[in-house]
């Protein structure tokens, strides 16, 4: 049940209805459980079961992470995966491909080899039952173009992950958009990573710099400048001018890789958007991500008529792992509590509403 009073969904065609259930679906990328999966404290089945238990029924998988033998993953692993999907009532929402252009020490992968690599990952997506594939940001537009027919023939769609610091008017993305429009948007599309909407500097990142001995004044300076959405172009220079060392310079470098753009910039591209990576750094509670304003992002997807998956990507693990126990399950659970509220699945738990 959506609480209209705080949703701000005025432009949505169904805004007048009180008990609308969103067309947007919830899912999890198993990237989110990487800490526990690496340490073997969660099995692959545990990851799937956890997602299912919180109603996140679309499972995004990085085959090179969750399975072995890529790209020739044995049939028994594929069969097991499909059996789990059946058993837990889940579905493969997406697979993530990498493009190892530096596979050979002494030469770059040729264009033909790059296209072949993508085709191989298309085969794998088909075996796993995924309708869309995350194409990593370093995939060149011409490789997307030449892999598109094979994707179409196999009934899947290659979606370029729009990852910070790229955005929808960046030259690299503009080149990709040109290729996608020429292709017709059948075999190609976009997979926005919500890391392009980092409105507040993630405190898990600045807190770590402080733990590593970073100067409080410079850490504050970097965070404040970022939060004011100031020009980070020469931030490393400034921190250097103020006598910053490796920790402070490293934090400044990270600040130049975060970006905040208006989520509405996605609207003109909504037809190309087939899946969303719901990046997050820290769930403060069941309603709020510290950095990324999902309460203003989700209305944009509603307005655009998006009906794919919001797929959790928990990224805080690596920023707290030095000092804290990572609890990926709790972080993912909280994000989905927030999603359920924002999508109108249940009443808001926000007492301030």
């Amino acid at each position: 049940m959506r609480d209209i009073s705080r949703s701000g969904f005025r432009d949505h065609p169904s805004a007048e209805m009180l008990f609308v259930v969103s067309a947007i679906k919830r899912g999890v990328s198993l990237y989110s459980y990487q800490e526990e999966f690496f340490l073997r404290t969660m099995s692959l089945e545990d990851c799937i079961a956890h997602a299912a238990s919180i109603g996140a029924l679309g499972i995004e998988v990085i085959p090179e992470q969750s399975m072995t033998g890529h790209p020739h993953i044995p049939d028994d692993q594929i069969a097991q995966w499909r059996a789990w999907m059946e058993q837990y009532g889940t579905t493969t929402s997406a697979t993530d491909l990498f493009l190892d252009t530096k596979r050979h020490r002494d030469r770059w992968l040729s264009h033909e080899e790059q296209v072949a690599s993508v085709r191989s990952d298309i085969d794998l997506a088909v075996r796993l039952g995924a309708p869309v594939i995350r194409a990593i940001i370093n995939t060149p537009p011409e490789v997307m173009r030449d892999a598109a027919p094979y994707a179409r023939d196999n009934g899947v769609r290659l979606l370029l992950e729009v990852h910070a610091p790229f955005h929808y008017s960046h030259p690299w993305i503009l080149e990709h958009l040109e290729v996608m429009h020429a292709e017709g948007g059948v075999g190609l599309g976009l997979m926005p990573d919500m890391g392009t909407f980092v409105e507040r500097f993630p405190r898990v990142v600045s807190d770590r710099a402080l733990r590593e001995g970073g100067r409080k004044d410079l850490v504050d300076y970097i965070v404040d400048l970022y939060d004011d959405h100031g020009d980070t172009h020469a931030l490393m220079d400034i921190v250097h001018y103020r006598g910053g060392g490796p920790v402070e310079m490293g934090l400044a470098r990270q600040a130049t890789h975060f970006i905040y753009r208006d989520p509405a910039e996605m609207l003109p591209h909504m037809d190309l958007i087939g899946h969303v990576q719901a990046k997050f750094y820290e769930m403060v509670d069941d309603t709020t991500e510290y950095s990324i304003p999902y309460d203003r992002i989700i209305p944009v997807f509603e307005q655009g008529g998006f009906s794919g998956y919001l797929s959790s990507e928990y990224e805080g693990n690596r920023h707290i792992e030095d000092a804290f126990e990572v609890d990926s399950r709790e972080e993912v659970r909280r994000q989905h509590a927030m999603f359920a509220t924002l999508l109108g699945e249940k009443p808001s738990t926000d007492s301030k509403a």
């Binding site: 990237y31 990487q34 999966f37 690496f38 340490l39 073997r40 990085i62 090179e64 992470q65 969750s66 072995t68 033998g69 890529h70 990498f98 493009l99 190892d100 252009t101 530096k102 596979r103 050979h104 020490r105 990593i136 940001i137 370093n138 693990n317 690596r318 792992e321 030095d322």
Partner: protein, 127 residues
């Protein structure tokens, strides 16, 4: 990422009677597996002494490769979280008890303009 999990506790073993051959187990500090040709090296420093790369081998799932030959291996992988055994020749016999071991894993990650990998130092007890 995963830096503090590279060296596996209790994994330092000597593999012969005179204790000049030993092994330690390491995990790759990365969130997916990688073809071995993209593993640029696993450098060990034991009690302050660097172990030469050509005195080191790399073993996964029973197959052993010279560390200096990994660049040529296009048909095997180091999987996510998978322990690899590094066998090495120590210049002098390793005594029983505690040893300070540093492992530096160097990776070639295609989407990153800078070298990938990580570093871990632990005090391990020779079993």
């Amino acid at each position: 990422m995963y830096d503090k999990h590279i060296l596996i506790e209790d994994s330092l073993h000597s593999s012969d009677g005179d204790r000049t051959h030993a092994s330690v187990e390491v995990r790759m500090p990365y969130y997916r597996g990688l073809g071995l040709s993209m593993v640029e090296g696993v450098d060990l420093v034991v009690d302050g002494r660097p172990i030469p790369a050509d005195a080191t081998t790399f073993t996964v799932r029973g197959t052993t490769y010279p560390i200096t030959g990994l660049a040529e291996v296009l048909d095997d992988r180091w999987e996510m979280g998978e322990p690899a055994r590094i066998d090495f020749d120590a210049a002098t016999p390793l005594g029983p008890g505690e040893h300070t071991v540093t492992a530096v894993v160097r990776l070639r990650i295609s989407y990153m303009p800078v070298p990938g990998g990580g570093r871990d130092t632990k005090t391990l007890t020779l079993a």
